[in-house]
């Protein structure tokens, strides 16, 4: 019995490298894939948490800051104060006599043909440029007044869009949507594809033939036609729609999984299990599914970027996510239309989208090498 205990101890010590452990070790050795993986993690964190930390709401419209170029320093710039001030004056229906700046505050002398209502200073506060308006002096007839106000310091690191919304918060918000959609539709496609493909491959014979013939027919319909029909049916509800998009993208997955399932079924270790008398469910659970997982994981990493591109494409056509909700595709579409006058509208969302796709691509390649090392 001590002998047995000893071998048990030694067995613990010589725990083998599992398939997944091996794959992980190989993936860790792949620098491009690891950097990409970290990048993707950061991107996800930034897109999910970022919007809460950016001082602007992605829907807030800053009328004073339409199409403001990106800048690392705070707005307003000096020349913008004057324009903003003129705007406020117009709203207050008063004339600007003189203004000067002292530190963080401006002092404005205004005149009017009629008595000026003090409450009109609220227009100053309503402006995106100023707040904390106070009446410093008032002439006896009430027709001249000195108002002071603080200059609101605002940062637009990514600039603002055509209606004066902060691009940073919009880009991050769009990232949330795009990544969520990619994952959601990807999972839907994988689930349907794996179930369909594994069933066809495992059943084999006539059932397999008919199931695959159906896939062939669906393949020969133009893909975009399908998507448009789904948009038409499901309206603009993006969750429903992307469930549907996932439901269209499963065709490739089904083919791949079926092929794999067929080849695994022919493996000798499956025959060995049959010779042991293992039941069909046992074979499916212990042999077919674990051996399929690698392919599924690889394909999933290829599918997610595909879905993100598809979403952007649909949004680009105006079929995807609707305002004020946004996605990278929506932003890029707007950016493409304003490329001559406000290139940052294209630059930032495109940079986010493309870098994410790049990273996904490298992770996918890395996973393929790690899970399927026959090439080396």
């Amino acid at each position: 019995m001590t002998d047995l205990a000893a071998t048990a101890a030694r067995a613990e010590a010589t725990r083998g490298r599992s398939f997944w452990g091996d794959a992980w070790a190989r993936l860790k050795a792949n620098r491009a894939a690891m950097v990409s993986l970290i990048y993707l993690g950061l991107m996800a964190v930034v897109c999910i948490a970022g919007p809460w930390f950016v001082p602007h709401q992605y829907t807030t419209i800053y009328a004073d800051y339409v199409r403001t170029p990106p800048s690392l320093s705070a707005y307003p710039k000096p020349e913008m104060i004057e324009t903003a001030l003129a705007d406020v004056m117009k709203r207050m229906r008063v004339d600007l006599k003189e203004w000067h700046q002292e530190g963080e505050r401006i002092f404005v002398t205004v005149t009017s043909s009629r008595e000026i209502d003090e409450r009109n200073t609220r227009y100053v506060d309503r402006s995106d440029t100023f707040d904390d308006a106070r009446v410093e002096e008032k002439s006896a007839d009430g027709k001249t007044m000195v108002i002071s106000a603080a200059i609101k310091q605002q940062y637009f690191l990514f600039g603002t869009d055509n209606t004066g919304r902060d691009m940073l918060s919009r880009t991050l918000m769009a990232g949330r949507v795009s990544l969520a959609i990619g994952l959601l539709a990807g999972v839907v496609a994988v689930v349907i594809g794996v179930i369909y493909g594994a069933t066809a491959g495992f059943l084999g014979g006539r059932a397999d033939e008919i199931m695959m013939r159906i896939v062939d027919v669906l393949y020969s319909l133009p893909f975009i036609f399908f998507v448009i029909m789904l948009v038409v049916f499901f309206g603009r509800n993006f969750v429903l729609m992307f469930l549907a998009v996932g439901a269209v993208l499963w065709l490739d997955m089904a083919r791949i999984v079926r092929g794999q399932a067929l080849s695994i079924r022919r493996q000798e270790y499956v025959q060995a299990a049959e010779a042991l008398g293992v039941s069909r469910t046992g074979i499916l659970a212990r042999h077919i599914v674990p051996n399929l997982l690698g392919v599924v994981v690889i394909y999933m990493t290829l599918l997610v970027p595909q879905v993100i591109i598809l979403e952007s494409f649909l949004s680009f056509l105006g079929l995807g996510v609707q305002e004020p909700m946004t996605s990278w595709g929506v932003l890029i579409s707007v950016g493409a239309k304003n490329i001559g006058t406000a290139n940052w509208l294209l630059l930032f969302p495109a940079l986010f989208l493309v870098s994410t796709l790049f990273a996904l691509n490298f992770v996918g390649d890395g996973l393929r090498d790690a899970l399927d090392p026959k090439d080396r």
């Binding site: 027919v217 133009p222 036609f225 952007s312 494409f313």
Partner: protein, 307 residues
């Protein structure tokens, strides 16, 4: 050979029939109709129009009428572009889309396979990494990003190319759209070619060819490349069908009057005949190019027979 082609075309007929039927009923069960969206259309006029186009007939009758017309080569009138028949729209737009698509395809196949072969021959060296990087960029950057960037750089910044428009097919007008269409294809072809060439170079018969002292040129071009072409051939078929039938992105961004734009517009406006026309055209292109691929395959690989 000829009998094979005829047989293949005959077997394509049921496929086409299934596609037409599926598309017809799918678009019809979608809510809305061709004349619902236009505001200011009085109910009487709408009823008139619907009667005129036979939209009030039972669906099965409309279906048979459509099939009957289709067999005569008549795609019917467009509902939303009332001055044109669907046939005329294709007659005008398809040549343009085909020109762009064919140029892009040829460019992609030439440049892509050259890059792929170079990468395979210099596997894991600088040239290989350069090609991989380019290919990754090409296949990850979406067309709707590439196109505006080309516009910005070549059109606005350097003023080398027109920003858009067809310009009656002037050469400079085609450069932007063709490049945009070709870039992702170049990337895909280069990747495919690299992979299949590496595999081909590793095969036993290449070792034989080297052991026989054949020249490097003969080993690479004569023996390795020919085998490596097969995956490219199978890829090129569906790719050609997709490219030649127009790209909505490229045609929209560059304002090209091709047929790529029709599909989405027509589907959204329930322009039934135009949608169906597009589906039929795409399906025919797909079938024809798959046939061409199979024939080419048999030309390259003697193990494939026409039977």
């Amino acid at each position: 050979m000829l009998s094979y082609v005829i047989r293949r075309l005959l077997t394509a007929i049921p496929t086409l029939f299934v596609i037409v039927t599926l598309a017809f009923f799918l678009i019809r069960v979608a809510p809305g109709g061709p004349f619902n969206q236009e505001r200011g259309l009085s109910p009487e006029i709408r009823a008139n129009l619907e009667a005129q186009f036979g939209l009030n007939d039972p669906l099965w009758l409309q279906y048979f009428n459509y099939l009957k017309n289709l067999l005569r080569g008549n795609f019917g009138p467009s509902y939303n572009l009332p001055d044109f028949t669907v046939g005329e729209l294709f007659a005008n737009g398809l040549p343009i889309s085909i020109q762009l698509g064919a140029s892009a395809l040829v460019l992609a196949l030439l440049v892509g396979s050259t890059l792929g072969v170079i990468a395979a021959l210099y596997q894991n060296r600088a040239a290989d990494y350069a090609v991989i990087a380019t290919a990754t960029a090409g296949s990850t950057i979406p067309t709707f990003v590439i196109a505006p960037v080309i516009q910005l750089l070549f059109g606005l910044t350097w003023s080398l190319l027109p920003i858009g428009g067809w310009g009656d097919g002037a050469f400079v007008n085609k450069i932007g759209p063709v490049l945009t269409l070709a870039l992702p294809q170049i990337a895909i072809v280069a990747r495919l070619m690299r992979g299949s060439m590496i595999e081909s170079l590793r095969s036993h018969h290449i070792r034989t060819a080297r052991a026989l002292g054949l020249s490097e040129w003969s080993v690479v071009v004569h023996h390795a490349l020919r085998g490596a072409l097969l995956p490219i051939v199978s890829y090129a078929g569906p790719a050609a069908a997709a490219l030649l039938t127009g790209s909505i992105i490229v045609e929209t961004i560059f304002s090209i009057p091709g047929v790529g734009r029709y599909f989405v517009d027509a589907a959204l406006n329930r322009d039934y005949t135009l949608v169906m026309g597009t589906v039929v055209v795409i399906a025919i292109f797909t079938i024809v190019f798959n046939l061409i691929v199979d024939i080419l395959y048999a030309v390259v690989d003697p193990r494939v027979r026409y039977d």
